[in-house]
Symmetry: C2
Subunit: 370 residues, 2 copies
């Protein structure tokens, strides 16, 4: 167990690093944020900062010497960065989870091996392989780069065979994956925290709704049958254990009309679809992440309210800020980004509702627009 | 209303400054902490730091130029410091509230003028005045320095006339005040937030219990008759308005056996007896302080749980830390103090209980020892 006053090193200074650093500070830890951009959201709240590239070996060695443990805030940190740090300082989670989360094919393969169902998929390297994959999976289907995609980037939807040519031209020569289109009823997220001693705790399942390929709303708890909620939590717990993960793990899943859950994507870090936990649970995802990384015990999260989280995306969203700030039942979080470009996540707002409220409404999102 | 990315200057880098800075960061603000000690708890989480004495005029001028608004975390910041800053940058709360809170005689006088009852007291400058005050108020009574006292320092209890000589010798030549001993049933705290527009919101009344003259437990909500709770909240709201305060105001009061409340002390800043609000309310005292200082709307605090807060005092308290960290219903806060001397407040732990739990127990403190 890291004693108070120890330093947690965080690779990446975005909002996830910032909220992790704030949670670490509440527990008495110092944070040292490492990343390529000065004055990043995370650095603004850290006791120490290193502005350097993730490939800067000398800076990484100094960072390792200055911290007691290292974690990361996003899964596109180069695996080589963790490879360089791992011999010098404990890295939690380790590079194995990072590598798997960085590659859609490695991820699908690992999920299947861990007994967690995924939708039909094929690896695609060549134009001919794409045609074969389309023939096997049928259309519509989604062609994706295997690496570095997020928020809908690096993707193309194929609706008819004629779409294949342009999609392949746009996304190759990167390694690709074709995923069968899943006629899902809803997208849900399950989040687990796993401690150094192997303890796993899970949050209630949440429902995600997207706008322009970016997460717009998370509704928690998801209004699904109990058996689905139990299954979703069991999947993410099994995956955290299979990964030997220390920290937070998020698993996005599709809920099919027949009640089955198919895993879509995982992220071995605090996740946007878990932001609601900060305000609706006794212990939120960032606190549990820090606890895991610091070797502290992991308590049950203890949800005390229903909640609806809305992302504040792009500078236009600031117009809603004064109205949201005036709502007594809304928790407002703003990330301190100095460059408020369109499409960037600048903050989020979580409406807190009495436990059980969501169950009484056909469409919870209509219950209280944010 | 300060836009996101604005900088809040905080005079003082102790735990109150730290928790204010964390609350400000959640709302998207940058913090600049000014204080005499490097690597203070507040500076560890601030975007910018100035290590300088409160009387350093040049450093204060640079600080004023670097921030959009100034607040303070403790009432012993020299009033001259705010006098120097006020022409350069908005200071919230202003120097008037600071001056009143720094002097027990000014405080009693202001409280009485605001219609808030206080116990009998006399100003004492000379040995003869002390004898006259003892004759007027009776014994026991408490002799206090009018300034710079906290956590029982600068105080002497007079139980018999023979105690006067030694107490006067120890505490003079500082200006003194003799306060009649109040045979109170309990000590309670009321906390208000007052916004730039004059809006006042109040938290539920809380009960305080001390050990070795330092706050040990806060039990919230205080288990008192409704009329007492209403009166306590009305007192602190009236005082905030009378002070024209912008920010948080704490008012400690004695509850007499006949149900009357007598004001004891006020503090124009977030207060130890309000730490429970961080975890038992939708909006805690530090968030409301930042909102007031930044000109944001002040929502109702929205308590969702009963709570018992325990201070972690001195390095011996760290022994309890692992046990507290393992409790799912305990929120742990550690302040990052690098010098963990005996008697210092190093953190606090708040046990969260279902609303209404406290009312079912004769002595809530026995309900769940921390």
């Amino acid at each position: 167990m890291l004693p108070p006053g120890s330093t947690i090193g965080i690779l990446g200074g975005g909002q996830l690093g910032r909220m992790s650093a704030l949670a670490a500070a509440a527990l008495g830890y110092r944070c040292h944020v490492f990343g390529p951009e000065a004055d990043s959201p995370g650095m603004q709240v850290a006791a120490a900062r290193t502005v350097a590239d993730y490939t800067d070996a000398a800076a990484l060695a100094r960072f390792a010497a200055a911290v007691d443990v290292v974690t990361f805030e996003f899964e596109n940190v180069p695996a080589a960065t963790l490879d360089a740090l791992a011999p010098l300082v404990p890295c939690r989670p380790g590079v194995a989870a990072l590598r798997i989360g960085q590659d859609r094919i490695a991820e699908k393969t690992f999920l299947e091996a861990a007994g967690i169902p995924v939708g039909p998929w094929r690896a695609v390297q060549t134009r001919a392989e794409l045609d074969a994959a389309v023939a096997a999976l049928g259309l519509p289907a989604v062609l994706k780069t295997t690496r570095m995609g997020y928020d809908g980037r690096g993707q193309a939807v194929l609706r008819s065979p004629g779409d294949a040519e342009a999609a392949f031209a746009r996304l190759s020569p990167h390694p690709l994956i074709l995923e069968a289109f899943i006629p899902f009823e809803r997208e849900v997220s399950a989040i687990a925290a796993r401690g150094l001693d192997g303890t796993v705790v899970t949050f209630d399942l949440a429902e995600n709704r997207h706008a322009d390929h970016i997460l717009d709303l998370t509704i928690a708890p998801a209004q699904v049958p109990d058996a689905v909620a139990v299954q979703g939590r069991a999947h993410v717990a099994a995956l955290a254990t299979a990964l030997d993960l220390v920290g937070i793990l998020a698993l996005e899943m599709f809920l099919l009309p027949d009640g089955r859950l198919l895993a879509n994507e995982m992220a071995p870090r605090p996740h946007n679809s878990g932001h609601w936990t900060m305000d609706a649970c006794q212990h939120g995802q960032f606190e549990l992440h820090v606890r895991a990384v610091a070797g502290l015990p992991l308590p049950q999260p203890g949800r005390h309210a229903d909640s609806i989280m809305k992302n504040l995306v792009g500078p236009d969203s600031y117009a809603a800020w004064p109205r949201l700030a005036a709502c007594g039942d809304v928790a407002l979080h703003v990330y301190g980004k100095t460059d408020a470009r369109p499409g960037r996540k600048l903050g989020h707002a979580t409406r807190i509702l009495p436990s059980g409220s969501l169950a009484q409404h056909r469409d919870p999102a209509l219950l209280s627009p944010l």
